[in-house]
């Protein structure tokens, strides 16, 4: 009987059944039930509803059951904090259980329950457990302090747990010491200045003693902690090194790397002429090499670390070149990393071997690896001068292979070799020129053009060659264009007579026809130089170039030093400081290598090397987003940057807003301008609620009224329901809100306008506006008393209106309004009042009473006031509804000169509860699909097209191709030799996706390239297509040949595979699991 049965129950009403079982009297049944609950939890089902029942099972003497219940608690306590309190008693009791396993279990679990209320109950038991007689309990409790600190740091400090933890460093049991060290280090990370781990020679000595006795993981904690210590002088440093070196013989590679870290760091303090320094260097090499006999994943980590070590101290591994030779079956990530280290270690002594290897690699099949190998040959040539000639001839051999990417890569590196050793290897230019036609990558083309320009005087037909590139000037990438411009100018300066025409051509191409500022500027500079002073031009353009450096990709020294301090951690794998990828405050400390003994800094080294700069309290939000170097710079800066995100000057923001708002408003009625974006609004009222049905009866078909309110410019609207000026600005207003991009703070609030002038109301002036605040509609009113006597007893009443707006409470004007006094009142409104259709629709008639009289006025509210917060329609529903909208319910508007991109527009509109349901991009158009729900339950759906290109195409794609919609999978076949066929497939696929909006990712599409047998005639590389299809389209890609029946079966197998996998995903989690279980049995054809 196995436990996997628990994973397969899929019955409905399961929770109910489980509940019953959990409350069963039989112990066995109870346990079964808890197991089922845990199994459900594992596969991601929500079983939190069973919380009280599971907690009831907690009081048991069955250890296994207890563990399961604890596991459940850890998972769900956070979501049910109140209920979690129920468990506290049992925890406290368990912490005093005679069985140490249970005591430890309880204290461990309590720490994992991240509920504030519980933590206070945790303190007492934890204090006891920290002093427990059993070391197993003590070690668990030590970790628990770190957990508690993570939840509530203040509590830990107040309760004095930190001191207890410090005491544990002197514990008799090494395992306890190790965990205490681990916990303290963890806590210290978030308290960089607290000097928690008070490292002094005495504690260091204690740690070094414990190091010999504790388990492998404990050793790592201790070593990592040692690495943070800065010895007082080189003598102490040496003695620590001596006691750490034996760890290099540990079987656990993590221990080895941590030891390497400590040694690398402390070596910094040893004088280089010390004998011990040499010994240490020798001792470091073998363990590093041995790491490479491990599993490939470990090898990778080891190689990344070795890469750092080699850059810091190349002498350590200088004789170990051979171990980095690439094996055929190494995974690609290991191969690339080995190659990198090989180049770093290349020297005159081993260059012959290295080159032979690199040449071997260059004939492999893995494109990335081959490229890197070719590049490596070039780097060797630049690094080891004696080998340059050999490298060049190797590269020439490789060019002869005519493998396209090899040739291109070789040309790129030969350019660098020319730079490094000018006038030495130019004899090979002829060979390079032969391959001109096969270059299709910008970098290679640019390199070749550079060579032709630089050595124009030696190439007879240089002008022809460059001219041939010039033909397609505008299709080239910027890199090539710039290079071509320079090369032709060089050519002109060298051979002015024949090339005048050419240079004029390129200058005009660059300055007049190009809109790339770099290119244009460079073109103008050349043009002016050439026209004003050709001699100076010669001096500038043909000046001697500075030599290129040997090592181009070394890690910047301060960063390297920091990374050395992080050997064995993720930072060393990424080659980035932790601050670059760790969010939150921890780990952002900046570590530094200790100062070398004898240098001026050594006197104050404890401070310098304590490695915790004051910056750690700098806002983490700023640092992680920076790249390595930038982060580094920020960290070095001792004054912490301000904790605010640098504010954008507000005037700018305002300006943008004004521009936008003003522009829109003024344009609402003005159609003479060229349109920049198109709006199409479809309005429909699927199920108007009872009361409004009659009232709005006329509108069910003709809800254009609403359309009007949205758009203001009636396009094809029934007349009479026409424009309502007050709402005319509706859309424009909406766009006005929010200000900057991404600010979705709230909906648009128009400024207050005078509704009731004092003249008409016996001295009472009322101005007001409407606003929607946190889901409630408010009428903001200002009452001003312009009469001579005091006004009191204010009340307000609304007439019936289109959307049933009514005051939700009485008008609160508390104090009597004295003459010349103004009072602001905000009146919450409800939408439950009596309904009557108004003209215009958003008209509101109001009566205000005071001690003098009753006054009447009417005002109009913006329709956006009525957009409710839950107006986001489900994509599927949207899709279905959209298709069912009768065309008479559709209305289209254009909004012009609204310079918002789709995201900004979407953000803005969201502020007014216009929600973007989906977005897609067709050619140059961004389409936003949006939904709006009114307070009376009417939905409006809108399609917002934002056109960036041709402004006048408003065509409606009749792309509702219903036939395409029903298939459950698609195979799109194109001919690999025919571009048009692929374009067609592109189009069809777009249509499929469009028509299955919302579920597009669920439709399996398999793109198939046929005529594989005619491979030689294909129009582009397989890779290019497959990347596009797989990555961008997220479809499957297969190539086959019907002629040779090659991969045809595979194609269907693939399709079925996708279809089955997709089908299962939609189902219930446990069905999915069943499917996965059967995977091995399922075979197709």
């Amino acid at each position: 009987m196995t436990d996997s049965k628990y994973f397969t129950t899929t019955k409905k009403g399961e929770i109910f059944e489980l509940k019953a079982e959990l409350n069963s009297d039989k112990k066995e049944k109870k346990k079964e039930a808890v197991k089922k609950v845990i199994a459900s939890m594992t596969v991601g089902k929500d079983v939190s509803a069973l919380f009280p029942d599971v907690v009831n099972c907690m009081q048991t003497d069955n250890l296994e059951l207890k563990k399961l219940v604890y596991l459940y608690l850890m998972n769900y306590a956070k979501s049910q904090p109140d209920m979690a309190i129920m468990a506290v008693n049992t925890f406290v009791k368990d912490c005093e259980d005679p069985n140490p396993l249970i005591r430890a279990l309880a204290v461990r679990t309590m720490g994992c329950i991240r509920v504030d209320k519980i933590t206070e109950y945790l303190c007492e038991p934890l204090r006891k457990c920290l002093k427990d007689e059993d070391p197993y309990v003590r070690k668990t409790a030590a970790v628990c302090v770190a957990k508690l600190h993570d939840i509530n740091a203040q509590l830990v400090e107040d309760q004095g747990f930190l001191d207890t933890l410090k005491d544990l460093i002197s514990d008799s049991n090494p395992m306890v010491v190790a965990n205490a060290v681990a916990a303290l280090s963890e806590i210290a990370e978030s308290h960089p200045n607290s000097n928690l781990l008070d490292l002094n020679p005495q504690t260091i000595n204690k740690l070094l003693t414990a190091l010999n006795e504790c388990t492998e993981w404990g050793q790592i904690f201790i070593l990592d902690c040692l690495a943070n210590y800065t010895p007082r002088d080189d003598r102490e440093s040496q003695s620590i090194c001596e006691r750490v070196t034996p760890r290099l013989s540990h079987a656990n590679s993590a221990v080895v790397l941590s030891a390497v870290k400590v040694l690398m760091k402390f070596m910094e303090m040893l004088p280089k002429d010390l004998d011990y320094y040499g010994t240490l260097l020798k001792k470091l090499a073998p363990p590093l090499v041995t790491l490479l006999s491990a599993e490939p994943e470990l090898q990778y980590v080891a190689l990344r670390n070795i890469n750092l070590i080699v850059q810091k101290r190349p002498e350590i591994l200088k004789h170990e070149m051979k171990v980095f030779f690439v094996k055929y079956n190494d995974p690609i990530y290991v191969k690339l990393e080995k190659l990198d280290i090989m180049i770093r270690l290349a020297s005159q002594a081993n260059i012959a071997q290295v080159l032979a290897e690199l040449k071997e690699y260059a004939t492999e099949v893995d494109v990335d690896f081959v490229r890197k190998a070719v590049r490596a040959i070039g780097r060797c040539a630049i690094k080891v001068e004696q080998s340059a000639e050999r490298c060049v001839s190797t590269l020439l051999d490789l060019i002869q292979t005519k493998v396209n990417y090899v040739v291109q890569e070789a040309i790129v590196v030969i350019k660098d070799i020319f730079r490094k050793y000018p006038n030495k290897y130019e004899s090979v230019i002829a060979t390079l020129c032969e391959n001109l036609d096969s270059l299709d990558e910008p970098e290679a083309r640019a390199a070749m053009i550079w060579i032709v320009g630089e050595y124009a005087e030696r190439i007879d037909n240089a002008d022809e060659l460059l001219e041939s590139f010039l033909e397609g000037f505008h299709d080239e990438s910027t890199q090539v264009q710039l290079q071509l411009l320079t090369a032709i100018v060089k050519l002109f300066l060298k051979k002015p007579t024949e090339t005048q025409e050419l240079v004029q051509q390129v200058l005009s191409l660059a300055t007049q026809d190009s809109d790339n500022p770099d290119l244009r500027d460079r073109g103008y500079i050349y043009w002016r130089l050439l026209s004003t002073d050709p001699v100076a031009a010669k001096e500038v353009v043909l000046a001697e170039k500075p030599l290129i450096s040997e090592e181009t990709d070394l890690i910047e020294p301060t960063l390297l030093d920091e990374l050395i301090c992080h050997i064995g951690t993720l930072a060393s794998v990424y080659h980035k400081p932790p601050s670059a990828f760790v969010e939150g405050g921890r780990g952002v400390q900046h570590k530094r290598l200790p100062a070398r003994a004898g240098s001026g800094e050594s006197a104050e080294s404890p401070d310098v090397g304590q490695a915790v700069s004051a910056v750690s309290d700098a806002p983490p939000a700023v640092i992680p987003s920076q790249g390595d170097l930038l982060g580094d710079l920020l960290n070095l800066d001792l004054a912490p940057p301000t904790s605010n995100v640098p504010p954008v000057p507000s005037s700018m923001q305002m300006g943008a807003m004004d521009l936008l708002g003003g522009g829109l408003d003024s344009l609402m009625g003005d159609e003479s301008e060229t349109s920049a974006s198109h709006y199409r609004t479809e309005v429909q009222s699927p199920q108007p609620p009872e009361c409004s049905e009659r009232e709005l009866g006329g509108d069910v078909g003709g809800s254009p009224a609403m359309g009007v309110s949205l758009g203001g410019a009636p396009v094809g609207m029934p007349a009479g329901l026409g424009a309502a000026p007050a709402v005319g600005g509706g859309l424009g207003d909406l766009f006005d809100l929010g200000g900057g991009v991404g600010v979705t703070a709230g909906s648009y609030i128009p400024p207050k306008t005078v509704w009731l002038p004092a003249m008409k109301a016996k001295g009472l002036e009322i101005s007001g506006t409407f606003a929607r605040r946190s889901g409630v509609i408010h009428m903001d009113l200002s009452f001003t008393n312009k009469a001579m006597s005091v006004m009191t007893d204010f009340a307000i009443q609304f007439n019936k209106n289109s959307f049933g707006l009514a005051p939700a409470g009485p008008l609160q004007v508390l104090t009597p309004l004295s003459p010349n006094q103004t009072v602001d009142v905000s009146l919450p409104l409800s939408t439950t009042g009596p309904v009557m259709k108004m003209e215009p629709l958003n008209n509101l008639q109001v009566a205000v009473k005071n001690n003098i009289d009753v006054f009447y006025f009417s005002c109009q509210y913006p329709i956006s006031l009525l957009f409710v917060e839950d107006g986001k329609m489900d994509r599927q529903v949207f899709l279905a509804t959209w298709k069912d909208i009768p065309s008479e319910n559709e209305a289209q508007f254009q909004i012009k000169d609204c310079h918002l991109n789709s995201d900004a527009a979407s953000n803005k509109l969201q502020g007014s509860n216009i929600f973007t349901v989906a977005k897609r991009t067709v050619d140059t158009q961004d389409m936003l699909y949006q939904s709006v729900k009114l307070t009376n339950g009417i939905w409006m759906l809108a399609e917002l097209r934002i056109q960036t290109g041709n402004p006048n195409s408003t065509e409606w794609l009749d792309s509702r191709c219903r036939g395409v919609r029903n298939a459950s999978a698609y195979i799109l076949v194109y001919d690999i030799c025919c571009v048009e066929s692929f374009e067609y497939v592109k189009m069809i696929r777009q249509q499929i996706v469009d028509n299955r909006e919302g579920s597009s990712s669920e439709v399996p599409i398999l793109v198939v390239g046929s005529k594989r047998d005619l491979q030689r005639h294909r129009f582009t590389q397989r890779r290019a297509i497959s990347v596009l299809v797989k990555k961008t389209w997220k479809c499957g890609y297969v190539e086959c040949s019907a002629k040779y029946n090659w991969h045809v079966l595979l194609l269907f197998k693939e399709l079925l595979g996708i279809a089955v996998a997709r089908g299962l995903r939609q189902n219930h989690a446990s069905i999915r699991l069943q499917g996965a279980l059967q995977r091995n049995r399922c075979s197709v054809m």
Partner: protein, 408 residues
């Protein structure tokens, strides 16, 4: 992708992050740049592939990079075979193990033998007396329990050396090293103190003896039971052994050795018609020794067909799914030379997807022999009860990563 088991140690990672993992992995695979460490936002995935199942570790903070290997190892020892089914069958135990292995992101105990003592698969049958924490968990000697008893006290020592060789197409040895390992099977009572003596060159130089052959070990790695500081100071290998099977130490030797089985190959490929392969294997070791189960694996083009073989000894077989010819020789005496010829047809339509140049690989095993000449000089076993124990030593040399590049 289904998550079989998940345990969130710190509670700072959203478990739905795992959904990104497979997409990222596929994307990397497509780009041909797979890497065992992947990051997505602030979450970092580390994965290893174990027979089609991925083991992931997620981190948000800087963490030890070596954590994820160990659960796999422990689970394998617990369940023999680690598969989806075995995890599901034992998910309760798996959770318990995960709990013990790591706490709040700090690895705790990863020794499966000790874990087995208090986390058993028959959890419900635990008696109260047995649910005590084994003192071993927190002891200085965390790898051996007290109170073991054997009728016959024996210890078996296996010295296994693997040879890694990389030979260039023109026949020059690019790199070769020996990775040796000494494995113990301990069946000893009580808490015995063991001392192992090897013909270690450094040791002999230290003690001034230089009788007989010595071996210079480049790098030595020890099981955690060995007192490293003692070895560092006087090269003595002293330890209290774990019970049962364990790897006591491993070492690496850089000395250049003649490849024990030398392969010469001629692979001639006539496009559109045929491939002809001639492989000569020569045993370059002592005549008295015999290599067993020799397998020479010769790569052939993926579209080859109609194989024909001729061998002077052994048996050749075409393995089309791996694009290999496997030439098996059951016993291969030293100094002998054998020949194998193979002939394949090639289709007239060429498969123009570039094929790599896989090397020839060789597998073999030579018993009663170590290529480095390492010897166990003595194994002293001292236990306070003073029993006599017998050490048994076995030597074996086998092929490790043994690759010979071809010119085809």
């Amino acid at each position: 992708m289904t998550v079989l088991i998940c345990r969130n140690y710190k509670g700072d990672v959203d478990m739905s992050e795992i959904d990104h993992f497979l997409t990222l992995l596929m994307q990397q695979e497509e780009e041909g740049l797979m890497c065992p460490v992947i990051s997505h936002g602030s979450v970092h995935f580390m994965w290893i592939k174990h027979i089609l199942y991925y083991f992931d570790c997620l981190f948000t903070s800087v963490c030890l990079s070596f954590v994820c290997m160990f659960p796999v190892q422990v689970f394998t020892e617990y369940f023999k075979e680690l598969e989806e089914e075995s995890i599901q069958d034992n998910f309760v135990v798996v959770y318990e193990l995960l709990d013990e292995l790591m706490d709040f992101g700090f690895p705790q105990t990863t020794d499966s033998k000790i874990l087995q003592e208090y986390i058993t698969q028959e959890g419900n049958k635990l008696e109260v007396a047995k649910t005590k924490v084994p003192t071993t968990v927190t002891n200085a000697v965390s790898w051996r329990s007290e109170g073991l008893k054997y009728k016959k006290n024996e210890v078996f020592i296996d010295v296994i050396e693997s040879i890694n060789v990389l030979v260039n197409a023109n026949g020059s040895v690019m790199s070769s090293d020996i990775v040796g390992s000494i494995k113990l099977k301990t069946m000893l009572s009580g808490m015995p103190e063991l001392r192992l003596g090897l013909n270690d060159r450094v040791l002999f130089a230290l003690t001034g003896r230089d009788k007989g052959k010595t071996v210079a070990m480049e790098d030595v790695k020890f099981h955690q039971c060995v007192r490293l500081s003692r070895f560092e100071s006087d090269r003595t290998i002293s330890f209290i052994p774990p019970d049962g099977e364990s790897e006591l130490m491993s070492y690496r030797i850089n000395t250049h050795v003649k490849p024990l089985i030398w392969i010469e190959s001629v692979i001639e490929k006539f496009s559109h018609s045929r491939v002809e392969i001639m492989v000569k294997a020569k045993g370059q070791f002592k005549k008295q020794s015999v290599a067993n189960n020799v397998e020479v694996r010769v790569p052939v083009p993926s579209d080859a067909d109609t194989p024909k073989f001729k061998t002077s000894t052994g048996h050749a077989k075409y393995v089309p799914e791996k694009n290999l010819v496997v030439w098996t020789i059951k016993s291969f005496p030293g100094g002998k030379e054998f020949l194998m010829r193979a002939h394949f047809g090639l289709p007239s339509v060429e498969n123009d997807e570039m094929e790599g140049k896989p090397p020839i690989t060789v597998k073999f095993e030579i018993p009663y022999f170590t290529v480095s000449g390492i010897q166990v000089r003595y194994m002293k076993i001292i236990e306070k009860s003073g029993y006599q124990a017998l050490p048994w030593v076995r030597y074996i040399t086998q092929s490790g990563d043994y690759q010979l590049r071809t010119n085809a």
